[in-house]
């Protein structure tokens, strides 16, 4: 009797676990199934064409890939030093009493919904960017465009990167820093040693931020200008994969148009999932290294792979 109770428990909970698996498989399957028209018609050319013309049925995803990658990379460039600075400050430099409040405030940045960022972006950030553009001589000074999008993304990404980086730094074994101090290092040099030890994890933290920036929809679509052009200029309006789906999905009247949009969704899915998994792998490998490098008195549940 006990054995069958155990078995039904295992199968019962297992069914729900399988459901999660099915959901993910289902997403991948649905995305592929609903983009077959576009895949068969355009093939690999889809990723290299820059024309997006619903009238003639000519679709190419290059402008969106460009916009997504460009905005995410710019956001990273701005956010990473700041996020790392915060992580270092909170975990190493700040007085103990400030630690919790500062950590809480940083996490607050992550809690603000994307639509509120977008709202603030339209009414506060864009006019400021417009003034900057006028000062820098951009014509026309729209305000909306790549610069505004990169700035907003950077602010949204900071809390993710910084909280993971903080975790990493916390997990660096004390002996590393102690050894550095014993050799006469200054505080910053000891911190550098800690960072060096956890560098894979920190790269993982940065990638986590990258993955977040790639998938962000609402805040970006409200400030980026929604124009499928490829341009290195920060002042020009551009378009990202998530934004074009949000704007054009409910109205893609013919099948090919819809399938083309879903194919973009498929690519977004693959890229973000890949980046996220890579980041988790990097973070896990650092934590593992921290645990196995030094004998720790209390080893709690080990972080599981991926």
């Amino acid at each position: 009797m006990k054995r069958s109770d155990d078995r039904s428990f295992r199968i019962g909970t297992g069914a729900f676990a399988a459901l999660v698996l099915l959901i993910v498989a289902g997403i991948a399957f649905e995305l592929t199934r609903q983009s077959t028209l576009s895949i068969t018609k355009f093939g690999l050319k889809f990723w290299t064409t820059k024309v997006w013309d619903p009238v003639s049925g000519d679709f190419g995803a290059l402008p969106f890939i460009w916009g997504t990658l460009y905005s995410a990379i710019l956001a990273l460039l701005i956010a990473t030093p700041i996020a790392l600075g915060i992580a270092i400050f909170i975990s190493e430099l700040s007085p103990r009493v400030l630690r919790q409040p500062l950590a809480y405030l940083t996490e607050l940045l992550a809690a603000i919904p994307s639509i509120v960022y977008g709202l603030w972006g339209i009414f506060v950030l864009v006019p400021i960017v417009r003034k900057i553009e006028i000062a820098m001589g951009a014509k026309p000074a729209l305000g909306v465009g790549m610069m505004a999008a990169a700035l907003i993304l950077a602010v949204m990404v900071i809390p993710f990167t910084s909280s993971v980086a903080r975790e990493i730094l916390k997990n660096v074994p004390a002996t590393q820093r102690e050894a550095a101090y014993a050799l006469g290092a200054t505080r910053w040099e000891a911190i550098k040693v800690a960072i060096g030890f956890g560098r894979t994890g920190i790269i993982g933290a940065v990638m986590l931020g990258f993955g977040r920036a790639l998938g962000e929809t609402m805040a970006v679509t409200m400030v980026i200008g929604n124009s499928p052009q490829i341009s290195a200029s920060l002042f020009k309006p551009q378009y990202t994969m998530a934004a074009v789906i949000a704007n054009e999905f409910t109205e893609a009247a013919d099948e090919l148009y819809l399938h083309a949009l879903i194919e973009i969704g498929l690519l977004l899915f693959i890229i973000t999932v890949g980046v996220n998994l890579l980041s988790r792998l990097l973070i896990w490998s650092t934590k593992r290294r921290a645990i196995t490098t030094v004998v720790m008195p209390m080893v709690s549940a080990e972080e599981v792979p991926a």
């Binding site: 619903p54 000519d58 000074a141 305000g143 993710f160 124009s227 054009e248 409910t250 109205e251 009247a253």
Partner: protein, 369 residues
Amino acid sequence: MASLRIYIPCIRTSDAVRTLRGMKLKSLLILVSIALAACQPSETKTSSSAPANNGPITINGAGATFPNPIYSKWFDEYQKSHPDIRINYQSIGSGGGIKQLSAQTVFFGASDGPMTDAQLQSAPGAILHFPTVLGGVVPVYNVTGVTQALRFNGAVLADIYLGKITKWNDAAIAALNPGVKLPADDIAVVHRSDGSGTTYIWCDFLSKVSQDYKQKIGVSTSVNWPAGVGAKGNEGVSGLVRQTPGAIGYVELIYALQNKMPYGSVQNKAGQFVTASLDSVTAAAAGAEMPDDFRVSITNADGANAYPIASFTWLLLYQHPKDVARGKAMVDFLKWALTDGQKFAPSLGYAPLPQPVIAKEMQALGKIQ
């Protein structure tokens, strides 16, 4: 996702567990009961197959932003006199209206670009077009130092949107506006980012007057814009133009009026510079030959006072809807809209339909069953 730093220290099995169990189970129960209570579907309110006399029925529709001001007024007014009928209209753009109607996720659609033959063919049933009001698309702008109405013609507008004219003080614009001090600012072109009937009307007119425009951009609800910034809906375009110095955009007249934005007059086929108004839009419809399926274009119309960028806007309904109750409700609504509803049009900047068109539509409404 932010990593969660939850940490649970060792728990003593004794009272801690007991109290915790009690406390947390209680709060779980509270949460669940709140959830159940809130999610109680109010069966008396809305039910998809409830006949009209058994409680309110909700009819979902989607489509053009062009007529959204008057549609939302109509649905509100109609609900006051018919509290059982709630018509939930979402303005997601004409392209959206056509798509959702064809996918049958909404009961009716609305569009200012009539459905193409191809779109009608691929729909799961016959769809009828019913003109509801007349409106005009105006060029709105935000030019520093210019508060009066500028004059445009089709060629200039086409070149601006093709990206060929880039500055406000361009010779072509100056030629049409002698005596106006135009700054040397860059033109910030604003267009629609969503599938739009307003875009259709705009492109329809410009393609008629500019061969270049016709070739490079064409006529549709969603086109490949060579220049400019995209905004969502008539609302988005007017919002963006309002905030961006040097911007130009195209919106339905009421959006310019409600937001007190300056808009230009456009030269019509007869050579006159006409400002969009009730009279000029009505004049544009006067000469139109209304076909049986009501799909007609009245841009660039003949007539000395005709506004060149005018258009009908249509409500789209299936000829044989599966839901008979809703079908009847919509037919009744349309009959009201074509008679009593028309009086709301002028105050919102739309022109009421010409009588012969209304008569023809009343007849056509009989086809729906």
